[in-house]
């Protein structure tokens, strides 16, 4: 089975995150592998291992699009267990919105499937920076793949993909046939950590650098120029300041209600 997992290098949400530059793009210092992508990688590794792993010819390719630093998200994925990596990087990609990103990634997935077809594209439910959840659905649309998104469980039996998708009012069973695109939620599994053996093994794994020329995408179709939306203004929200803090002396519940009444919230 050949699986491509999309991994994104995102600013660590533990720290303050910033928008910067004329295009109000995300500042990517202090970046890490997006936490939500670890679930997709874990799902891919489990599917591969259940079929005998790399020895049996199964492949898990970690694909990332981003500037030089994004290679760190791929390296982390290799340490966790991906078999190889692909890094799509090109100056012309800077400032890409979801439409431009999905266009470039779809082309990269086609490129990776040129020798042997890709059976499954796995992604997280959203990036932890842009948080739009648009890219997986757009890649499925561009590649003409069945879309099985927000999966909280996933089974692949032969060519059949069966997933559970939880909504607020109901939980659905969703079925499709391979090849397919699946996005997974953080409910699907417990991602593993890289161990010492994995960290050593990762050094021998291959990361294929890809440019727009390699994947046959014109620079005008991506980046700020090819994006269909533009962020025009960005303003840092003033930090919330602490209000009144009291220590309960037996009547804090009443004081709370008095506060709510004063704020006209009752």
């Amino acid at each position: 089975m050949k699986i491509v997992v999309l991994v994104k290098h995102v600013p660590d949400a533990q720290f303050d995150r910033h928008l910067t530059g004329p295009g109000n793009t995300t500042d990517r210092d202090e970046s890490i592998l997006s936490e939500l992508d670890e679930y997709a990688l874990e799902a891919a590794l489990q599917l591969s291992e259940a079929r005998g792993g790399a020895k049996a010819g199964n492949e898990v390719i970690a694909l990332s699009m981003g500037p030089a630093g994004a290679v760190n998200a791929i390296k982390k994925s290799l340490q966790i267990g991906a078999s190889s990596g692909a890094h799509l990087s090109d100056d012309a990609l800077a400032g890409s919105d979801a439409a431009a990103t999905s266009l470039a990634l779809a082309a990269a997935i086609r490129y990776l499937g040129a020798d042997a077809p890709v059976d499954l594209v796995l992604t997280g439910m959203a990036s932890t920076d842009g948080e739009t959840s648009l890219v997986p659905a757009q890649i499925a649309e561009r590649l003409g793949l069945p879309q099985v998104t927000f999966a909280s469980s996933l089974e692949v039996n032969g060519e059949r993909v069966v997933a559970r998708r939880d909504g607020d009012a109901h939980a659905d069973t969703v079925e499709a046939t391979l090849p397919a695109l699946v996005s997974v939620t953080d409910q699907i599994n417990e991602p593993r950590y890289p161990n010492f053996k994995g960290i050593l093994a990762a050094k021998k794994k291959k990361i294929t650098p890809l440019t727009l020329a390699d994947i046959g995408v014109d620079a005008a179709q991506v980046g700020a120029a090819g994006s269909l939306t533009a962020v025009e203004t960005a303003e840092a929200r003033p930090p919330r300041s602490a209000g009144t803090i009291i220590t309960d002396e037996g009547d804090a519940g009443i004081k709370l209600v008095e506060f709510l009444a004063a704020q006209k919230l009752l």
């Binding site: 949400a13 995150r17 910033h18 928008l19 109000n24 939500l36 999905s102 439910m125 932890t128 920076d129 739009t132 648009l134 997986p136 659905a137 757009q138 561009r142 793949l145 069945p146 879309q147 099985v148 998104t149 998708r165 607020d168 009012a169 109901h170 939980a171 659905d172 069973t173 969703v174 079925e175 499709a176 953080d186 409910q187 994006s227 269909l228 939306t229 533009a230 962020v231 025009e232 203004t233 960005a234 303003e235 840092a236 929200r237 602490a242 209000g243 009144t244 803090i245 309960d248 037996g250 804090a252 519940g253 009443i254 709370l256 209600v257 506060f259 709510l260 704020q263 919230l265 009752l266």
Partner: protein, 317 residues
């Protein structure tokens, strides 16, 4: 006159407030039309007319609900073409965003999610990076696709109701080809409380509730609010994942957010820090939640919360 098309998936027996909010925004942009999927009850059709819908588009097929997202996007693309709409408005739900995503590719249209306001010129307002920035964004394309969060505008109806024209849209024959099929559906029990992302008041519990959400449920009911939880509480299995507020759960922006027994780590803050008023109850005075609380109580939630509930009931008589 500019045209805006609102997508309403399965309007059901009564229109949701969020659907009326989308119609209100559509009318502020120009002539409003609705593309719906599923059954349309007569009184729902009348309500759509009362809120200014000039045309009601319906799909030619009844099996769109048997598939995930893709054929609904194909139907909506055909409805956009028929209506000549420049703006398409959808709910900011998982399905809404993904229908918008695919529609964007089909129409080569810019998609903006998590919108909280739309100017007359189509500029969309949203907040990003977990509420740390507010931005304006605009589609650079002939058609703009926007998914709008609930409670973004006050619902307004025009002075005179319209009698909408009914138009059937032919769903492309290949719309369901290669689409994932929904083969089973388990309904979840209804709580009777408002939907978490739409609620005016949210009462949320974390590690400190130690498995017992009872007191918080009573407070939520006394206030007519929704129940929420931190990831620690959902991961512990004390309450369903649907209730999770935070980076990997739901983002809420209610008038009042009451946080009980939640430390307020970044993962939780990401989902609630744009709430209008934040009240925090925690035993630990060092909890980061107190840095963003408008009113904080250092104390035992099992004492404070029931006392507050009782006082509210007393005042409401």
């Amino acid at each position: 006159m500019a045209k805006a098309l609102v997508f309403i998936d399965n309007p059901g027996s009564a229109l949701k407030k969020s659907s009326l909010e989308l119609l209100t925004i559509a009318r502020s942009l120009g002539e409003a039309a609705v593309a719906f999927n599923g059954e349309l009850h007569d009184d729902v059709a009348a309500a759509l007319g009362a809120h200014g819908a000039s045309v009601l588009y319906r799909p030619s097929t009844t099996d769109l609900d048997d598939y995930l997202v893709a054929p609904k996007a194909a139907y909506l693309a055909a409805a956009v073409a028929a209506s000549g709409a420049e703006t398409v408005l959808l709910e900011n739900t998982a399905d809404g965003k993904e229908i918008a995503a695919r529609l964007g590719v089909k129409l080569n249209a810019g998609v903006i999610t998590d919108v909280v306001g739309v100017d007359a010129d189509g500029t969309a307002h949203k907040s990003v990076l977990a509420g740390s920035y507010t931005t304006t964004a605009k589609a650079r394309t002939a058609v703009a696709v926007l998914t709008v969060k609930p409670n973004s505008v006050d619902v307004e109806a025009p002075a005179a109701a319209s009698t909408p024209e009914a138009v059937t849209i032919d769903v492309p024959a290949d719309a369901t080809a290669n689409a994932a099929r929904i083969t089973g559906r388990a309904e979840k029990p209804a709580s009777g409380r408002p939907e978490l992302t739409e609620a005016r008041i949210v009462v949320a519990g974390g590690r400190g509730v130690d498995g017992d959400f009872g007191p918080l449920e009573e407070l939520a009911d006394a206030l007519g609010g929704a129940l929420g939880a931190s990831r620690a509480a959902t991961d512990a299995g004390w309450i369903g994942h649907d209730y999770q507020v935070g980076q990997t759960g739901k983002t809420v922006s209610p008038q009042l957010y009451i946080s009980a027994g939640i430390s307020g780590a970044i993962q939780q803050k990401a989902g609630m820090q744009t709430s209008k008023v934040i009240v925090a109850i925690n035993k630990d005075a060092e909890s980061p939640i107190f840095e963003i609380a408008d009113f904080g109580i250092i104390g035992d939630l099992f004492k404070v919360v029931p006392q507050a509930t009782e006082e509210i009931k007393k005042r409401k008589g």
